[in-house]
């Protein structure tokens, strides 16, 4: 469905060019649900813009739905959908239903399909209460649901989503995630999700691509990535007195009031032994042991760790 080969994009003049994306290659099969993560400025947006035909790459090739995006932009746009969490694709001053109507005309969908799709989407996304309200009067959660509906009305084969859950409350987040999962499962829509929210990735994506400094630094299933640093443990300790804490084999990752966050490798020091060391060193009111979450793993991957090795300096 998506094929990327040696794609490079540099900005600015040749002498002082800034490479936003450097020689990336990957392939995404039809029906896949892929997370695309990376720190700010890593090259995520630039990649998505090249795949939607907004930007022309400096070198390399890519095809989406068999089309070269920047050469066949309009035909490709007919078959892909894009949602930007922070910007609207709807008509600000018009009621939501008018936006749907314009989408129908723009993508020239058949009237019968359009009517049926609108009915289904109004139902599944709960749009009825604000369907006739202008977009500017919607809450962020309502607007996001309307955005998703507008994006899938043309029945896109590929959906690019940029931070679709940013700023949403728990309930709206869940609604958006349920909808995307169902769309992927039932319609087979290929989805590429750019996000900083690791919960989005854990709950939705099968595969995770991580980009940093314009290079793909990790590519694998979400489970594989999570398993990379299984030996890492975090111990949260509440001290009786605010005092410095130093324990052999552990690093103080964070310190806030009486609370300390320690990280250690269970391969070097077993968890019970680490707890014993802490109890010997200081007076403890409470403690809890946590497995690594995806966010920690991603952070370690950004730092260039490969996983499976011993613990390294944690700031």
């Amino acid at each position: 469905m998506i094929r990327v080969e040696h794609l490079t994009k540099s900005f600015g003049k040749r002498s002082a060019a800034l490479e936003a994306v450097h020689d990336i290659s990957f392939a995404i099969e039809a029906g896949d649900f892929v997370g695309y993560a990376g720190p700010n400025g890593a090259g995520k947006s630039t990649t998505v813009k090249m795949l939607t035909g907004v930007l022309v790459p400096t070198s390399g090739t890519a095809t989406v739905c068999g089309l070269v995006p920047w050469k066949d932009r309009r035909r490709l746009n007919q078959r892909t959908g894009v949602v930007f969490g922070q910007r609207t694709q709807l008509w600000w001053d018009l009621p939501v239903s008018d936006s749907f109507d314009l989408v129908h005309r723009l993508y020239r969908t058949s009237p019968a399909d359009h009517r049926r799709d609108v009915t289904t989407l109004v139902d599944t996304l709960g749009l009825a209460p604000f369907l006739e309200r202008p977009v500017r009067a919607l809450s962020l959660g309502q607007r996001m649901r309307a955005e998703l509906a507008a994006a899938v009305l043309p029945r896109p084969e590929v959906l690019f989503l940029d931070e679709p859950t940013i700023g949403l409350d728990v309930e709206a987040k869940a609604a958006v995630r349920d909808f995307l999962a169902a769309r992927n499962r039932e319609e087979g829509t290929t989805i590429v999700l750019t996000t900083h929210d690791t919960d989005d990735i854990v709950r939705l994506c099968r595969r995770l691509l991580i980009i940093d400094h314009g290079r793909i630094i990790s590519d694998g299933t979400v489970d594989e990535v999570r398993g990379r640093f299984t030996d890492e443990r975090r111990l949260v300790v509440d001290l009786v007195r605010d005092q410095p804490l130093a324990v052999p084999g552990a690093t103080v990752e964070r310190s806030e009031g009486h609370r300390r966050w320690l990280t250690f490798s269970s391969r070097d020091v077993a968890a019970p032994e680490m707890v014993a060391r802490v109890l010997r060193a200081v007076e403890v009111r409470d403690l809890s042991l946590e497995p690594p979450d995806l966010e920690d793993v991603i952070r370690r991957i950004y730092r260039g760790e490969t996983g499976g090795t011993g613990p390294s300096e944690v700031r």
């Binding site: 813009k49 907004v54 930007l55 746009n77 894009v82 930007f84 005309r105 723009l106």
Partner: protein
């Protein structure tokens, strides 16, 4: 071919209607702005009349004859700006910087049509109407024969002027795509060009005249058709025999502008994240 055009224009007309519906919510404000734009043109015209009255015409042209140029130039500018205002450097630069243009590029239609259709500025109707009324009054009072041919020439002049203005702003937008920050250099050709086209071309120096005839056809668009209406002839290099060249020059300029727009798109590097 027909399909290509249809997919370029896409839902342009529907977008315009949607934009106008947005206006109807603030109709009082928009009426005021439109009236203001018309008043501006009338004030300029009165200024010109006072000046011309004192010097008893200019370059051998009577006040009414000059006002005919003036009215057509303003009507053409108004019509052009009604379409192309969103391409003006500050507006277009803002569109690029807040990422809205990136979104436009994810839609299956011409981004140029989209940008224009979603931001029609109704106030330019004021400039157009005021200019057209001044031109019609000037035509009648100038003593020229009011024939269907004269009216057709007025339409040609107005449309040529409007197309040239749209083309200038399109080139400006192409430059903005490259620089991101808007530059006001092009205003010299739009507002400056319209002011210039409001006066008989023979009063300008040869080099300046040549630029506005052959390079940016603002001058020739208005001046040459008006020469025919008034039964006059212009100086060498800007005479009435250029009439057949007017559409050619204007359309060539439009093709150049379209090329610049396409070049701008291919070099567009986006803005922000």
């Amino acid at each position: 071919m027909v399909d290509a055009i249809r997919s370029s224009i896409g839902i342009g007309p529907e977008l315009v209607r949607a934009t106008l519906r947005g206006f109807s919510a603030d109709w009082r404000l928009n009426l005021l702005r439109t009236g203001g734009a018309a008043l501006l043109v009338v004030t300029e015209a009165i200024g010109a009349i006072i000046l011309l009255h004192r010097f008893e015409g200019i370059g051998g042209w009577t006040t009414a004859e000059v006002l005919l140029l003036f009215g057509v130039a303003d009507a053409g500018l108004g019509l052009g700006m009604l379409v192309a205002d969103p391409l003006e450097p500050p507006t277009f630069s803002q569109l690029l910087r807040d990422g809205r243009f990136d979104q436009v590029l994810t839609r299956p239609m011409s981004p140029l049509v989209w940008v224009v259709a979603t931001d029609i500025q109704i106030r330019y109707v004021g400039r157009f109407v005021a200019g057209a009324i001044i031109a019609l009054v000037a035509l009648v009072t100038s003593g020229a024969a009011v024939t269907p041919a004269a009216v057709a020439l007025l339409v040609l002049a107005t449309v040529s002027m409007a197309l040239t203005v749209v083309a200038i702003l399109t080139i400006g937008a192409a430059i903005t795509m490259y620089t991101i920050e808007g530059t006001e250099v092009l205003n010299a050709f739009t507002y400056g060009g319209a002011t210039m086209a409001g006066w008989p071309l023979q009063i300008y120096a040869g080099a300046l005249r040549a630029v506005f005839v052959w390079a940016v056809p603002v001058g020739v668009s208005v001046y040459v058709p008006v020469l025919w209406i008034l039964g006059r002839d212009g100086p060498g290099g800007a005479g009435r025999d250029l009439l057949a060249f007017v559409p050619v020059l204007v359309l060539t300029f439009c093709v150049v502008a379209a090329g610049a727009w396409r070049a701008g798109l291919s070099r567009y590097t986006g803005a922000g994240s």
